[in-house]
């Protein structure tokens, strides 16, 4: 293996120059001559039967070329996990803003005007907005014929308004209660958060002359998009080409189709290219938001500070359709115990229908909600038993060989080093307790998604190397990291490698860019594809150099005999001979599918994410000051330590941590999509408060490298954990500063002031 010159080194981004010059082409930038523009009409009621949709008047408006409603689209139900989503609302609408009809016209204004001319007759039904009410017997049933829905994954438990119920247990809970000296109970709740990517959803679709669908869209999963479109349009996959454009921020909100199927259907109907772009308020009412959650925790501990038992119940509000709900619930359940040894536990995590919009994956899905509850709960227990929060956590941390909530063996566990490093960075033991200032601590355990990724490494005729993959770089820098890995394997400079991303016609299959999975899975795929290519080159070179294959080595674009370096052939010459004499065009290819680790099958039900290739860990300390007159929380400094397995590119890792911490900070202090009777009342970036540059505190970062055995050069994933931590870290710091325990995010000044005035009593709902 060549001397490591590339892994762990800061490399400039392969896509940096074009993005800095504004020449990258994003979804909204796609322009097609003669293209129509589509706008949709959303429901005005949260829960209602549709008696009649009259598009006659709209159809007559000049410039309108096509209108689709449930009547003239395929009777197909689709969905990421539960196929409960009609293409357009048919018998019933289930949230305000749910698309009923889509109009394609020569320009967006005409399409919008036409959409307003569509007359819809509703028969209002009783809505339900609170997930806990939706569980009550007799609550309005949002999906009547739910049993008939098909599922894309086995073992998804569904009943009534529940579209995903994950059950896990360990040890014997009753025995746990008996062994506990003290038992604590808490209830936590977290808000709906908007993804906040600056690029709006925008897709352009057209059918070419022999009836093949081409679609340009900023999607995180080109093959999942192609699969969904195939189902909806009834087309074989080879008749669909999905081209992932440059992506302006995804964070999990662009894994599903949102407008792609409307464009495709209208393009088919009108025979013209159709572009559909959502406005900011449409995005914030129809799609791209995180599940809100209510969490009940009951934990038994011994006086000496050891956790004995925990019973957790997580209720995720997944809105009108299952969407990613049945995936978010298990991810939350998997980490509700945090990185703490808990001999006896029982976890129920539910994804519940309500009459709100279709919530989707968002960075750290399930984990950010669970971690706020778990770490606030643990912190208040530590203080009740008057332990220092640092020591209480250290006493209960998991280590290599312990098992996760699903009974999977934990490996490459870096949480202890992370906690120690945060303690050192923040000088936790010497921290001074000053007036109205406080310190908060928070740890987390999370997982990455496995599933297959494949890579294709081509040697061109001149010996240059070309990596072709389906994994979109949504900004996290995967194209750069994968180029570095390939450069290391081929012992080349990274800038001599070209990488092409995101075209289903050219790239081999890839599951998609979400769940911190690209560096891990695609990284391994790139390594194996490179080695496959090298095997082909060595056999070719062995024939030419007449040397045994085992002696050959690739260095500085030359294949040479280890024992007799003068005997060598350049990649260039080898390529020429392979292409034009014999051997054929060398292509390294591989599909990496992380083996599904063993877990306690008998103790886990309804959990599609029961095992993960490897767990990731992180820890954070934060110092804050509180203005006791206004309740405003000011974040002074954040100390964050992350076990990323191995750092491939330090600048990329820092970027993920800083970006994740700021998104977590917004979630902790300001961000909430507010509903009033099912209607989003702050669907714009003035009333929905995302952090500005002036709100960024000093963030000190440390990296723990535990070198995961199955990771590419030991790398794990780094995108999700940073988001999980600030919520609880700030809530714990707030308690430390002014003795106020708030169990509901965001920690708005009004809540802080109310609790200060009423000595820590938390008003139910503000």
């Amino acid at each position: 293996m060549a001397k490591n010159k590339i892994i762990g080194r800061p490399f400039t981004r392969v896509d940096g120059r074009r993005k800095a010059c504004g020449s990258s082409v994003y979804g909204p930038d796609i322009k097609m001559p003669g293209s129509l523009h589509a706008k949709f009409l959303g429901s005005i009621y949260p829960h209602a039967k549709i008696l009649h949709i009259d598009t006659e008047k709209a159809g007559r408006l000049s410039g309108v070329k096509g209108i689709i409603t449930n009547k003239n689209v395929p009777e197909v139900y689709w969905g990421f996990m539960v196929k409960d989503n009609p293409i357009l609302a048919g018998d019933k609408v289930r949230f305000i803003g749910e698309p009923l009809a889509v109009v394609a016209a020569t320009d967006p204004d005409i399409a919008e005007e036409a959409a307003e001319l569509i007359h819809v007759e509703y028969e209002e039904l009783e809505p339900v907005f609170d997930p806990e009410e939706a569980l009550e017997p007799g609550a309005p049933l949002i999906h009547e014929g739910a049993e008939a829905y098909a599922c894309t994954m086995p073992d998804i438990i569904r009943y009534g308004n529940v579209c995903g119920h994950t059950k896990m247990f360990g040890g014997d809970l009753e025995q746990g209660w008996r062994e506990s000296d003290v038992i604590f109970e808490d209830r936590f709740s977290t808000p709906v958060q908007h993804h906040g990517f600056i690029e709006p959803h925008a897709a352009t679709a057209r059918f070419d002359l022999n009836g093949r669908l081409e679609i340009w869209t900023p999607t995180q999963a080109i093959f999942a998009t192609r699969m969904a479109l195939g189902e909806i349009l009834g087309l074989p996959l080879n008749r669909i080409r999905v081209m992932g454009t440059e992506l302006g921020g995804g964070f999990g909100g662009k894994t599903d189709i949102t407008v792609e199927h409307f464009c495709a259907l209208l393009a088919k109907m009108t025979g013209k290219p159709v572009k559909m772009q959502l406005t900011r308020s449409e995005m914030m009412t129809y799609t791209s938001a995180r599940h809100s959650c209510v969490i009940y925790l009951k934990t038994g501990v011994k006086k000496d500070g050891h956790i004995v038992a925990c019973e957790a119940r997580l209720l995720f509000d997944t809105g009108g359709y299952a969407g990613h709900g049945p995936g978010v619930a298990p991810l939350g359940g998997n980490c509700i115990l945090g990185p703490y040894r808990t001999p006896h536990f029982k976890i129920d995590s539910l994804s519940i229908y309500t009459n709100k919009m279709n919530f989707s994956f968002m960075r750290g899905p399930g984990g950010i909600q669970a971690n706020f509850a778990c770490e606030s709960h643990i912190d208040s227990i530590a203080r009740e038993l008057n332990f220092d929060p640092f020591d209480f956590r250290m006493k209960n941390l998991v280590a290599e060989g312990d098992t996760s909530a699903t009974g999977q063996r934990l490996e490459a566990v870096g949480i202890k080093e992370a906690l120690i490093s945060v303690g050192k960075m923040s000088r936790w033991t010497q921290r001074k307790k000053r007036k109205n200032r406080g310190w908060g601590l928070c740890c987390c355990l999370y997982e990455i998604v496995g599933l297959p990724s494949s890579a294709l490494v081509k040697l061109n005729e001149d010996g240059s190397i070309h990596l072709v993959i389906g994994a979109i770089d949504l900004g996290q820098g995967s194209s750069t990291v994968l180029t570095q890995i390939l450069a290391q394997e081929m012992d080349m400079a990274a800038d001599q490698i070209a990488v092409t991303v995101g075209d289903t016609d050219m790239a081999p299959y890839d599951t998609g860019t979400f769940g911190d999975r690209v560096t891990f899975n695609m990284g391994n795929a790139v390594i194996e594809a490179a080695r496959d290519l090298k095997r082909q080159l060595f056999t070719g070179a062995a024939a030419i150099l007449e040397r045994p294959v085992e002696n050959l080595e690739l260095a500085a674009k030359m294949i040479l005999d280890r024992n007799d370096p003068k005997k060598a052939i350049s990649l260039h010459e080898l390529a020429m001979s392979s292409y034009y004499f014999q051997g054929g065009a060398p292509m390294g290819k591989s599909t990496f599918f992380a083996p599904f680790p063993a877990y306690a099958y008998e103790k886990v039900e309804g959990n599609p994410y029961a095992a993960t290739p490897v767990h990731t860990y992180a820890c954070q300390a934060v110092e804050i000051s509180v203005d006791k007159e206004t309740g405003v929380v000011n974040v002074e400094t954040i100390y964050s330590s992350h076990d990323v397995g191995r750092m491939i590119n330090p600048l990329g890792i820092e970027g993920q941590i800083q970006g994740g911490v700021m998104m977590g900070l917004g979630y902790a202090l300001w961000e909430e999509v507010v509903f009033d009777a099912g209607r989003v009342i702050n669907p714009n970036l003035a009333d929905y408060k995302m952090p500005f540059a002036i709100n960024q505190p000093e963030i000190r970062i440390d990296i723990v490298e535990t070198k995961a055995a199955n990771g590419p050069y030991g790398a794990k994933g780094a995108g999700n954990p940073p988001v999980l931590l600030p919520g609880a870290a700030l809530a714990n710091a707030l308690y430390d500063a002014v003795g106020v325990r708030i169990r509901e995010l965001p920690l708005t000044p009004e809540k802080v002031l109310y609790c200060l005035k009423n000595t820590g009593v938390q008003k139910e709902k503000f």
């Binding site: 204004d109 007159e629 206004t630 405003v632 300001w670 507010v674 009342i681 702050n682 003035a686 009333d687 408060k689 952090p691 500005f692 002036i694 709100n695 708005t748 000044p749 009004e750 002031l753 109310y754 503000f766």
Partner: protein
Amino acid sequence: MKDMRYIRTASVTEITDSLKKYGDKAKIIAGGQSLVILLKQRLVSPGGLIDISQVNDLKFIKKTKKTIKIGALTTHRDIEKDPLIQAHMPILVEMEKQLASVQIRNMGTLGGNLCHADPAGDLAPPLIVMGAKLKLISAKGSRTVSVEHFFRDFFETAIQPDEVLAEIHVPLLPVSGNALYIKHSTRGVDTTIIGVAAFVSKDRDSNTCKDIRLCVGGVGSVPIRAKKAETAVRGKAVSKKIIAEAGKKASEEIHPVSDLQGSAEYKKELTEVFIKRAIKAAWDGIGRTNA
């Protein structure tokens, strides 16, 4: 976008003539920072737009013996960076620094801000406590209105369809006086939840408060003068107790509405806190700031 006429004007008389000609079928556009959003979202669809942004005679900052006269088309950034304003009215400079963003301040004009009349606007309270007046011009002539009485209701002012806001006259602060503006918003530079402007002047010999004017933005359909709070301080020796009394009075005389920004009780709390802070900071700052 609905069909609209576009009338470019280059002088004040051209403005007033166009206003007379089109009446309320056309709307004035200066910086456009509030109006363009309403146009795009089709909340407003006027027959025509009268663009006054190129009328250079309304872009000036002049100092006379007793007042500073500001042309209505002066932008927020002009105010922020103008030496005259920095020397004589630091309250306006500090207020501008926290207003929207640099880009919006580059285009947004003072006249546009006042005519948009957002009750949580940052410009009105400082002008009100400094007793500023506005000069309105129409084809028939011109009149002056005090800024305080210029605001009638949510986004509604006393301006008539045929009038344009031309000048803002701000009296210079007395040597023994001081004024400042502080605001509370979620992210620091953000939509204002509560904005409090305070002007205080000291009676040198008796070391008591000669005059005081307080104005609260964001707690009503217009910026509100906290008159009861003023009477609690005027003529008295400014002490911690007096200031606390004024804070309490101010929070009692306002009737805010609960909304996304906060509940009515919270806004009352904030008003009390910010009135106290504003009076104290203004009082302590007397004699220190202005030249």
